[in-house]
């Protein structure tokens, strides 16, 4: 297997974690978080700063990233979680945009647009390049697997049933005495922390991060993974993330064959394709490839469609 | 003469029929009350005639013209105008604007408005207020005035007294009766306050479980000894 495939799979693994985290927030609980890249970026930079500037090992960086993601998640959630879905979407999008401005402008901390170089590797040093690449892939895959198993367990548990009830109609659980806000807060914070963890993995994999790594296209890809895979279905998110990576990376080869187009046009064409597929999926197959099973969804109400 | 003629009407939502084979006539200048227990299908029958609920079978004609194939807007244009029970005014518009939009596409908006104010003089007092800020009774009056802007032949009124104080219930029903007599309208009214409605209506139908179980002169229906029992669904 060549290095390129290993690279693609590693990126796909990072997207799997992001998609699973978003699926917990949106698919299961109905929280519209457009700030995926904000949390992803905060995790990446927090981990980088912890390891490079403060000299912590990778695990320390990962912990700092998770903490930073969680704390930011609490802040954003307290601002907007009580409000309707639209408001949460607006606030989270604004948050992501603001986070990117901070990455860009606080050069002393983040290196600004020149980029932030991260030397700390998540695996032991002194291995050959190939082995290191494989080891990083293994680590990312393990992280994705753990996230998947934990979230699927959670989705099947009574806790997951409450989340779905909140998603379908947050009046019902609150009359049952469940505090809807606390559940939404928990889910939002856990999801944000997981996105930040994905950011840490990503940062130590690519080793140079710039604010451009954390822009809207990334958020669109993650959303697409969740929707195409099937909102509410954890396996769907894994499948969706893999599919989106294949589609995105694969379109690189297809469009590269069109020689009349310049690089800018090719990149634009790929994004047009991605956005169009997302819109068409929502219109014609809103439940995704792997719909959330009816058995798991609350009995009387149909599962949510995005 | 007969204005509305309904024969073996089946109606409901989607494919579920709630109204099962109803015959009913409303003549010009006549007020007909539809009474019965909750869930009997009174509102559904009214909405089916208005085009808001689905007609699943049977016929409905207005002045001999078939209503069934027409969408709601066309039925209103043909003269069968519906006044919904709830959310029957545009709250953010002034009363005058509410009246004006209700005569969309007509050239004689001002003339129609004057006619309606002449029929319901109370409207004149709050013509330029925001409709959402009016009292419950005033809002129902505006809702009624909006229906009248279409110059209906047949007025289909769904519980116009819902939420009104007992005093206003009588007023509202008196106004409807007067409209039937003076403006020569046919009025089909669904009313929870059955006795108050029967005092004013010419004829009445008692609907239970989607069927007409009693029909006749309104005043006489109210006198029948088992009238109260009908409302608990015990069909005779």
């Amino acid at each position: 297997m060549d290095a390129y495939l290993v690279a693609i799979l590693t990126v796909a693994g990072v997207y799997v974690v992001l998609a699973l985290a978003l699926n917990l927030q949106f698919g299961l609980t109905g929280l519209i978080n457009f700030g995926v890249v904000g949390f992803f970026g905060i995790g990446a930079y927090a981990s980088g700063i912890a390891t490079e500037t403060l000299g912590l090992p990778f695990v320390g960086g990962l912990m700092v990233a998770i903490l930073a993601g969680g704390v930011t998640g609490v802040g954003v959630a307290l601002l907007s979680l009580r409000l309707s879905g639209d408001f949460l979407a607006i606030v989270t999008l604004g948050f992501a945009e603001t986070a990117r401005l901070v990455f860009n402008n606080e050069d002393w901390l983040t290196g600004g647009p020149r980029g932030f170089i991260i030397r700390t590797r998540p695996v032991m040093s002194g291995l050959s390049r190939d082995v290191t690449a494989w080891a990083v892939l293994g680590l990312v895959a393990a992280a994705a697997l753990i996230t998947f198993l934990v979230l699927r367990r959670l989705a099947d548990a009574p806790y997951g049933r409450i989340l779905r009830a909140i998603r379908e109609d947050d009046l019902v659980p609150s009359t049952l005495g469940k505090n809807v806000f606390v559940y939404r807060l928990q889910v939002f914070v856990v999801g944000s922390a997981a996105m930040a963890a994905a950011g840490s993995l990503y940062a130590h994999y690519v080793q140079t991060i710039t604010p451009d790594n954390f822009t809207t296209p990334v958020a669109i890809l993650v959303w697409m993974a969740v929707i195409v895979g099937g909102a509410g279905n954890m396996l769907g998110s894994v499948l969706g993330a893999l599919l989106v990576t294949v589609l995105y990376e694969g379109s690189r080869f297809v469009t590269a064959g069109i020689s009349v187009l310049d690089a800018e046009q090719i990149s634009a064409l790929r994004f047009i394709l991605i956005g169009t597929v997302l819109i068409l999926t929502i219109r014609f197959r809103p439940m995704g490839i792997l719909p959330e099973s009816q058995r798991r969804a609350s009995a009387s109400v149909p599962p949510t469609t995005p | 003469m007969t204005l509305l003629a309904v024969r073996s009407l089946e109606a409901g939502y989607g494919r579920t029929s709630v109204v099962r084979g109803v015959d009913l006539d409303v003549a010009q200048g006549e007020m007909v009350a539809l009474v019965g227990p909750n869930g009997a299908g009174k509102s559904t029958l009214l909405k089916a005639i208005a085009g808001v609920a689905t007609i699943l079978g049977g016929t409905a004609t207005l002045d001999g013209a078939d209503l069934v194939p027409l969408p709601a807007a066309a039925r209103a244009k043909a003269g069968a105008v519906f006044m919904p029970q709830e959310r029957n005014i545009f709250r953010t518009l002034s009363v005058a604007e509410n009246l004006a939009v209700s005569a969309w596409g007509r050239r004689d908006v001002a003339q129609r408005r004057n006619d309606v104010v002449a029929l319901l003089p109370a409207i004149g007092d709050y013509l330029h207020k925001r409709a959402g800020g009016l009292s419950g009774g005033q809002r129902q009056m505006v809702g009624l005035a909006m229906a009248l802007m279409a110059r209906p032949k047949l007025l289909l009124v769904d519980e116009p007294t819902a939420g009104l104080s007992p005093l206003l219930v009588g007023d509202m029903l008196d106004i409807l009766r007067r409209l039937a007599e003076e403006a020569e309208l046919g009025i089909l009214i669904v009313e929870q306050n059955a006795r108050a409605a029967l005092q004013r209506a010419g004829r009445a139908l008692v609907l239970v479980d989607g069927h007409v179980v009693r029909t006749g002169e309104a005043a006489r229906l109210a006198e029948e000894p088992d009238f109260g029992a009908l409302f608990f669904g015990e069909t005779a």
């Binding site: 109905g30 519209i32 457009f34 601002l79 907007s80 009580r82 409000l83 309707s84 879905g85 639209d86 408001f87 979407a89 607006i90 606030v91 999008l93 604004g94 945009e97 603001t98 401005l101 860009n104 402008n105 809207t216 296209p217 669109i220 959303w223 800018e264 046009q265 634009a268 064409l269 994004f271 047009i272 991605i274 956005g275 169009t276 819109i279 929502i282 219109r283 809103p286 469609t305 995005p306 | 709601a72 807007a73 209103a76 244009k77 519906f82 919904p84 959310r87 005014i89 545009f90 709250r91 953010t92 518009l93 604007e97 509410n98 004006a100 939009v101 209700s102 969309w104 596409g105 279409a150």
Partner: protein, 285 residues
């Protein structure tokens, strides 16, 4: 005083789009994040007509309004109309995806480089010690004219009344015989034209590039939210508030965080009015 003038200028740029956003929100009850995309369409349409075909800028501005209306009208027909009745969240997600598609169509056609309109060089004029460029005056005048026209249209014409009626209570509008789909289409075209106008105004004041999309979306939505998401006048006032906050940030804090003002404004509104200005949830479909 200089700051006030600058604030007025940035307010004038986003006001038409904020009004368009509000109009769409009241008609269909979803937050259309593609607003910035249509603004970018307008900006590039104006650039094409002005810098490429050499038309005078005022004519290019009308062209941009037509392009914005056409683009939104088309997208509404193809994308949003088939999804009417789906939840606000779904439409919002679709609008973001659409915005992304529009941005990249523009990038595909025009490339990513920064472009400027072909404007006659004129020096700033000084009025009572405040420096104002002729472009700024034109931007403010055009924006004010558009705001007034839309306000007049909504309050004093039958179509405007019908638009407000449909926005207020669509099912009643249907019962009362209003041609709801046609009225909605009129609303979409007006909003699209307003987006196109904002695009032109941006080009008059600054340079344009496809990234404009996200840079303007947040201020537009922030202005609409601060303005209460109800009336065009509110949106215009909201735009002025956002413009003022942006200029104050640039003057007293740092110009690099001008872009975060919209977010901060939304956050502030949420803290001050936690129930949200979007109105109560119960009333929404």
């Amino acid at each position: 005083m200089q700051m006030l003038v600058d604030a007025l200028a940035s307010a004038a740029i986003i006001a038409p789009a904020a009004i368009g956003f509000t109009l769409i929100y009241t008609l269909f009850r979803y937050a259309n994040f593609a607003a910035g995309g249509f603004v970018t369409v307008g900006a590039f349409a104006a650039w094409t007509l002005n810098a490429f075909f050499g038309l005078p800028i005022w004519l290019a501005g009308f062209g941009a309004m037509a392009a914005g209306a056409l683009a939104f009208g088309l997208c509404d027909r193809l994308v949003f109309r088939p999804l009417r009745g789906r939840s606000g969240g779904t439409l919002l997600l679709v609008s973001i995806a659409l915005s992304f598609v529009i941005e990249n169509i523009i990038r595909f056609c025009f490339g990513a480089q920064i472009r400027g309109f072909d404007l006659p060089l004129t020096g700033p004029i000084e009025i009572a010690g405040v420096r104002v460029t002729r472009e700024t005056l034109a931007v403010v005048a055009a924006s004010a004219a558009a705001t007034l026209s839309v306000g007049l249209l909504l309050t004093a014409t039958p179509v405007g009344r019908a638009l407000r009626a449909v926005a207020d209570n669509e099912s009643l509008a249907q019962i009362r015989g209003l041609p709801v789909p046609r009225i909605e289409a009129v609303g979409v075209l007006i909003a699209g034209a307003l987006f196109g106008l904002s695009g032109t105004l941006i080009g008059l004041d600054l340079t344009i590039d496809p990234n404009l999309n996200w840079a303007v979306t947040i201020p537009i939505i922030a202005a609409a939210i601060v303005g209460g998401l109800g009336s065009p006048l509110g949106a215009a006032i909201g735009a002025f508030g956002i413009g003022l906050a942006e200029e104050a940030t640039a003057t007293f804090l740092t110009p690099t965080y001008k872009g975060a003002v919209g977010f901060a404004a939304i956050a502030l509104v949420l803290i001050l009015r936690p129930q949200g200005l979007l109105g109560d949830k119960v009333d929404r479909k």
